[in-house]
Every structure is written in structure tokens, then in C-alpha cells.
Symmetry: C2
DNA sequence: GCCCGATGTTGACCGCATGAACATTCCGCG
DNA sequence: CGCGGAATGTTCATGCGGTCAACATCGGGC
């Protein structure tokens, strides 16, 4: 991803980055459960325990990968929205943007199943020593994008409170069902149908009735 | 669950069932990843490899647990719908039933997070020897219930095709976000808000606009 | 030029999945 | 009733993954 290392022999020079790259590859290939410390080290050509100089253990490695995956997802959504043509009518434009973001989301999930699953994998979480009650829980840009798009759409008409979460739910659930759920093995055609229907539901659901 | 065994000493008498119960307990406590063959065997008081006489390995055990979890989910949904008062207007009744089913779904997920996750966990899947191309993929009753409710609702007005999947997506995604996703740690109050908003979206999304 | 701290390496321990070989029990058949 | 095989458990062994402690090596600052 970010950091082509100039590897030496004993001291690698950029092990942390190299491990992250390897781990991201692993996640891409087989999802979060495939992110295995020993394998990442192996790929980088380093002993398993070397990773402990840079990560607190598998958990932290996985958490790092998750961050990357989330960033990539958001990027994909933004690219999808950017490709969308504008519209004179602001309401129409807002609707289109929201739809484009959602399509980008689902598309990313379908195209990079492993990475997508990694993006939302529940990672063990660090043991907190009974202080620092709430880890800031960094924002998830994918969600922010959806929320903002919904707000923009809402400004062009009545908006239901908490619609952001509802929209996200639909898009997220759809992705998971398509990926590993019972909607897996749908033809591309039928998959698109489902996506569009869900999108219509989301858009129409934003408006108060 | 089903099978209180009268354990002997060497020959257990009902090991398979006992293991399933233990495994379901494990899933209830910590989700699918906690369903560990050795631990299940330990709880039943039997050697780890004994399980292989009854299951093809961890995968099959987990698949069995998944079946139980799905059944329980559907039961919870039906109970929730059964408690719902009827209505004279068939359209209203259909709407209420759908909403009740969805609430039951989310409720089950929130109350039994581990079991719920187990219900939709992706299990490795048996290696097929290149024949038997499509394993029948047994229906998921929870989905059937939703689909039927949507159809009933659809008969009282225009219905969007593929709305079933859309509705399921929303409900499923919502559950996951509430469980392990970023909507975790929401107060019960705000959680209910989100649930109701999503429900409204689902119901309004069924109708053609 | 030397010494310390950062960074890797070895070796070891534990838990888990799984397979092979061996033990015990149950049950139907003679 | 008694025997023998099929079921069902057990022990032993292999391999993988996570993680820790002790040791080795390199890279710089003094």
C-alpha cells in the first residue's frame, strides 16, 4: 500500500509497513480470519516474533488492516460519486449522489469481499486497564459520506431523523447478504436488481410519508 | 436444547446431542468463533477426538449450531408476530405483522448476539468431490417469514419486485451494526429510534412510489 | 571506537484441528 | 449364553498459530 521498502538483511528498514501490506493482501485474499501473524511475517521473510516489535499482537495488526480497508471503501464510494453527472435540480442531484455512494459501497463489497469483511470485522479490542473509559472510536468515513449525502437530500425536503443509520443498515446488510449470506451466488443481473430495489427503498425511506 | 442425555461412563449414550448443546452454549456466549471442538468436548467430559465420531470436524459442528440458531431466530420472530394484535384493515394488519417480525429479528439479535452471529456465520463448507454441484442450501425460515409478510403486504397494494431482499438487507444490516458495528453502545432509547426509522423505511419502500 | 537501544532471531509453551492406532462396550446371531 | 464385529471413546502424534523470554545484531550518537 504505502511504503515500498528497501529491504536490507538483518534490519529490514520498514518492517511495520511491509507487514501491513502483507496483512492487507491476506485480508484481500481471504478476509479477516486469514490475517495471520505468522503468515504475514513469512511473506515478508522475517521471523514470526519480529512482528511484536511493531504490533501489540495479531489484534493490533488486524485493527490496522481494518483501518486501511475502511479508507479504501470510502475512497471507492467517493470515486463512484465523482463519476456521477450532476443535475440542475438540487434534490435530484442529492438523490443521485446518495445512490452513487451506495452503489460504490456495494460494488466495493462485491469486488473485494475479503477486504470489505475485514473493514467491519470485530477485532478483540485492546484490554483497557480500567481507565480511559471510551476509546474515541474513530469515525468511519464511509458512514460519514452516507450521512452527509442524506443530510443534503434531507435539506431538499422533509427528513426522517436517524435515517442515516437506516440507510447504512440497508446498504451494509445488503453487502453482507450478497457476500457471505444467502444472496451469494445470485447472478449479476439479479444482484443489480436487488441493489436498485434497495436503493429505491433507501431514497424513498428518507422522506417523511 | 433437545436431548437431555443419561450419560454412562465409557459410552456416553448421546454424545452428538450433548456436543451440540455445548456448542450452542459456546456460540451463545461468544459467537461462532468461540465454537471450539475441544472446548465442547471438555464440557461434555469427553476426549477431543471423540467428536469426530459424530461430526466431520469443527466445520460440521458449527454448521449444526448455525441451523439451531436460525431456527431459534425464526421462532423468536414468530412469537413476536403472534403477540401483535390483529387489525380489521388487511393492509394495516400486514404492515403490523411485517413490523413485528422485523422487531423480533432485531430483538433476537440484540438479546442473543453470539447466537445471532452464529446464525449467519460463513462456515468453511464441506469439500465437494467435484460432483453434486449445488447443495440444496436449506431455506432460512427467518427469510421466508419476511418474504411472506412482504408478499401479504404487497397484495394490499403495489409491490416492488425483490423487495424481500431489500427488507432483509435492512433488518440484517441493522442488527449487525447494532451488534458488532459502530451502532453498538447506542442507548436503548436511540436504538429503538433507529429500529423504528428503519422499519418505516422498509414498509414505505415496499410500495411503488 | 564503543556502547546502548532498536530490531530480529531462536527456542519454548500452550491451545486447537485432525488423523492413526488402540481400547471398550453393545448387541445381534448362533 | 457367549462371541465377534460395529460403534464409540481414548491415547499418541503432527502441524499450525499466538505469544513470551532470552539472545544476537546492527545503527548511530557520544
Amino acid at each position: 500500500m504505502a511504503g515500498i521498502s528497501g529491504g536490507k538483511n538483518y534490519h529490514h528498514g520498514d518492517l511495520r509497513n511491509a507487514l501491513i501490506c502483507a496483512a492487507v493482501d491476506l485480508a484481500t485474499e481471504g478476509g479477516p480470519e486469514r490475517v495471520v501473524l505468522r503468515e504475514a511475517a513469512r511473506r515478508v521473510g522475517v521471523s514470526p516474533t519480529a512482528a511484536y516489535r511493531h504490533f501489540d499482537g495479531r489484534g493490533e495488526l488486524l485493527r490496522t488492516v481494518r483501518g486501511h480497508a475502511r479508507a479504501r471503501l470510502a475512497d471507492a464510494m467517493e470515486r463512484a460519486a465523482a463519476r456521477e453527472p450532476g443535475a440542475d435540480d438540487p434534490a435530484l442531484a442529492a438523490e443521485r449522489r446518495l445512490a452513487a455512494l451506495c452503489r460504490g459501497y456495494v460494488r466495493f463489497a462485491v469486488e473485494h469481499p475479503g477486504l470489505y469483511r475485514a473493514a467491519f470485522s470485530a477485532v478483540p479490542a485492546v484490554d483497557r486497564p480500567a481507565c480511559a473509559p471510551a476509546p474515541p472510536e474513530p469515525e468511519i468515513r464511509a458512514f460519514t459520506l452516507l450521512r452527509e449525502a442524506l443530510e443534503a437530500l434531507g435539506r431538499t425536503g422533509g427528513r426522517r431523523p436517524a435515517a442515516g443509520a437506516a440507510a447504512w443498515s440497508a446498504v451494509h446488510g445488503l453487502s453482507l447478504l450478497l457476500l457471505e449470506g444467502p444472496l451469494r451466488r445470485l447472478s449479476a443481473q439479479r444482484r443489480d436488481d436487488v441493489v436498485e430495489t434497495t436503493l429505491a427503498m433507501v431514497v424513498s425511506g428518507v422522506r417523511v410519508p
